[in-house]
């Protein structure tokens, strides 16, 4: 098994694990972590494709060994995933502060909500 195949399979496994977590875990923090796991899988796939070569460089006739374009894309992707995680965590923290909940289930809050005075 070549290195690229191995890393490609790892990427696929990470995406699968993350997808499972995102759909099946009730806790929002776990869902956010699962999203990051899927993201890592996708970025690994970017790396594999960069290592495999071809792509834009080959299309431009400038050689086939390694491809810098996916690496540039991964950097942007990382920034976007980081920003997404930051927004999600900020919303979650505020939600926990307000209602003591850390899931999106429709059931009653797990812990007793704070007295109404604190809400305003």
């Amino acid at each position: 098994m070549s290195g690229t195949t191995l890393f490609g399979l790892c990427g696929a496994a990470l995406v699968g694990l993350g997808l499972y977590g995102l759909i099946c875990h009730p806790g929002v923090l776990r869902k956010i972590l699962a999203f990051n796991l899927i993201g890592s899988g996708v970025f690994l796939l970017f790396g594999v494709i960069a290592k495999r070569g071809g792509g834009a460089l080959a299309a431009a006739g400038a050689g086939v060994d390694g491809d810098p374009v996916p690496q540039a894309l991964v950097i942007t992707g990382l920034v976007v995933a980081f920003a997404a995680t930051a927004i999600a965590v900020a919303l979650l923290l505020r939600l926990v502060e307000l209602g003591g909940r850390d899931t999106l289930e429709d059931e009653a809050p797990r812990r007793a909500p704070p007295p109404p005075g604190r809400r305003s």
Binding site: V15, L22, V28, K31, I32, F35, I38, G39, G41, V42, L45, F46, I49, R52, G54, G55, A56, A58, A59, A60, V69, P70, L73, T76, G77, V80, A83, A84, I87, A88, L91, L92, R94, L95, L98, G99, R101, L104
Partner: protein, 511 residues
């Protein structure tokens, strides 16, 4: 006929495309310096300029009869990133500028900072996020590269999600988080699809990819995987049944000005990308069962959204479920385009875009009107609307006209859209799509009649209003609804805008 300066502007051609991107992003940067106190006015000025820029782009596309191109830094694909405005882009630019401007005027009251009062955090946040949504939409319209479109989609999502939770109550925070989680799953699936496209064809530029895909025989399996991943990801962001769970609480819980933008524009951004992928990138795949599945999901959304809207007790939730149903109509475009000959598929796409524009105008008007009613009464239970038509006649008229436009009465854009879609459905022997549209129209009429019944019932005294809406807010909602209702009177040359850039070459693979 046309003055010299207009000819000069139109002669700019591709350089015009930079303006719709610069205006909202410039506003975002200015906002950090100016703060919420001045941003309300500056954003409004930018939105007027933005509408002018969108009109200029549309006029230039219409005049040239061909797409406009702009290459960033002079680098052409595959190494560079290009912008392109074809007819579809021009339509999206125009409707975004129009709705954003209307919402910008409406929101001067709830989110403006009156002289002598303290600035609130939500006013700065609202205007920044509104500009962010607008920037994202314009980039979605002009981007010609799957990765640029990914970034545009994220800009759109990250601006739209906090708009939901602007008032910071626990239930809107929950709605925003649920929206964000669905949207993030959508983004990551889209990105995975983009990687597979790059890995298979070595480029992300839509035109180059389309050429490569047309030349590929047999189609590589990675292409099918990439297409389905991207489509499912975008469906989660568009809230097509059964990935719709996040939409009703998010759209109903947001402040009315935000709901209008979310419902009218934000979900359309991801729909627009699905159209780009299927019609521009791989039209030959439209004939497969994938298009039928998209259409079937659309029908399910029409029926499910309509039935649930009938059962809602709150006005804003009813409008939100109605959005679910109306989004379903958009997805009928895919099976109908596949069913018709190449020439008819342009008609279908025109019908789809017309439905998009019509729903955007009508729904923005209805959400603004529902927001005014809710703010005036202090609540929005439908059963407690008695006499409201006497207290706020203009607002109720705006809601009603928007509703008529949704049902698809004669001069409305939705009527024209449905007749454009009905033709190919009948000609292709696929009558069931037409039936679904008719049943959807009946359901729409049913849930709106329920609202009218309560709003107009009896001659009881008008309820005492907590707070009268400003007259200009009522008129903005009315203008949007009237726009949707009169859209069907547009001259045919303007409808031809959608066809620009769709040549026989791109549709060649259809049959």
């Amino acid at each position: 006929m046309s003055p010299a300066w207009l000819a000069d502007v139109l002669a700019l051609g591709g350089d015009l495309l930079v303006v719709p991107l610069m205006l909202p992003v410039g506003g975002l940067l200015l906002g950090l310096v100016l703060g919420g106190r001045h941003l309300a006015r500056v954003a409004l000025a930018l939105m007027v300029l933005g509408l002018a820029a969108a009109l200029a782009v549309a006029a230039a596309v219409l005049q040239a009869g061909a797409p406009l191109h702009y290459e960033l830094g002079g680098w052409s694909a595959p190494l560079g990133v290009g912008l392109k405005a074809d007819g579809l882009s021009a339509v999206l630019l125009l409707i975004s500028a129009l709705v954003v401007l209307a919402v910008g005027i409406y929101a001067q009251r709830p989110f403006g900072v009156a002289p002598g009062t303290a600035e609130t955090r939500s006013s700065l946040a609202f205007w920044m996020l509104l500009l962010g949504v607008w920037a994202g939409l314009n980039t979605v319209a002009l981007g010609q590269d799957l990765f640029t479109l990914f970034v545009a989609l994220e800009l759109l999502t990250f601006s739209a999600v906090p708009l939901v939770a602007l008032d910071g109550r626990a239930e809107t925070l929950t709605a925003a988080l649920r929206y964000l989680l669905f949207a993030l799953l959508g983004s990551v699936l889209y990105l995975l699809g983009a990687v597979l496209f790059y890995g298979t064809f070595g480029t992300l530029d839509i035109a180059l990819l389309a050429t490569a895909i047309r030349g590929a025989d047999p189609l590589p399996p990675a292409l099918l995987a990439a297409a389905s991943l991207m489509t499912v990801g975008l469906l989660a962001k568009t809230a097509l049944f059964p990935l719709h769970l996040w939409l009703p609480p998010a759209h109903a819980g947001a402040p009315p000005a935000a709901s209008a933008v979310l419902s009218a524009l934000v979900v359309k951004g991801s729909f627009f990308l699905i159209v780009r992928i299927w019609f521009d990138l791989m039209p030959m795949l439209l004939t497969t069962t994938a298009a039928q599945i998209l259409g079937a999901l659309g029908v399910a959304a029409i029926l499910y959204g309509g039935l649930l809207a009938l059962r809602q007790a709150r006005l804003k939730l009813l409008v939100a479920y109605s959005t679910l149903a109306q989004l379903g109509y958009l997805f009928l475009v895919f099976p109908l385009a596949a069913a018709s000959e190449a020439a008819g598929s342009v008609d279908v796409l025109t019908g789809g875009m017309l439905q998009l524009v019509s729903h955007a105008l009508a729904k923005a008007g209805m959400f603004l009107a529902a927001g005014l009613i809710a703010a005036s009464l202090g609540q929005d239970q439908i059963s407690a609307l008695g006499g409201i038509a006497r207290a706020m006649p203009i607002t109720v008229l705006a809601f009603g006209l928007g509703g008529l436009a949704l049902v698809g009465l004669e001069p409305s854009g939705a009527y024209l859209a449905k007749s454009l879609l009905d033709g190919p459905a009948a000609a292709g022997g696929q009558w069931w799509w037409g039936l679904a549209m008719s049943v959807g129209g009946l359901l729409t009429a049913a849930y709106l009649i329920r609202v009218f019944y309560h709003a107009l019932a009896g001659f009881q005294l008008p309820p005492s209003l907590k707070r009268r809406p400003a007259r200009y807010q009522e008129l903005i909602a009315l203008a949007l609804a009237l726009g949707a209702l009169l859209l069907g009177l547009l001259p045919t040359e303007l409808l031809g805008l959608v066809e620009i850039g769709r040549t026989g070459v791109e549709l060649g693979g259809l049959r």
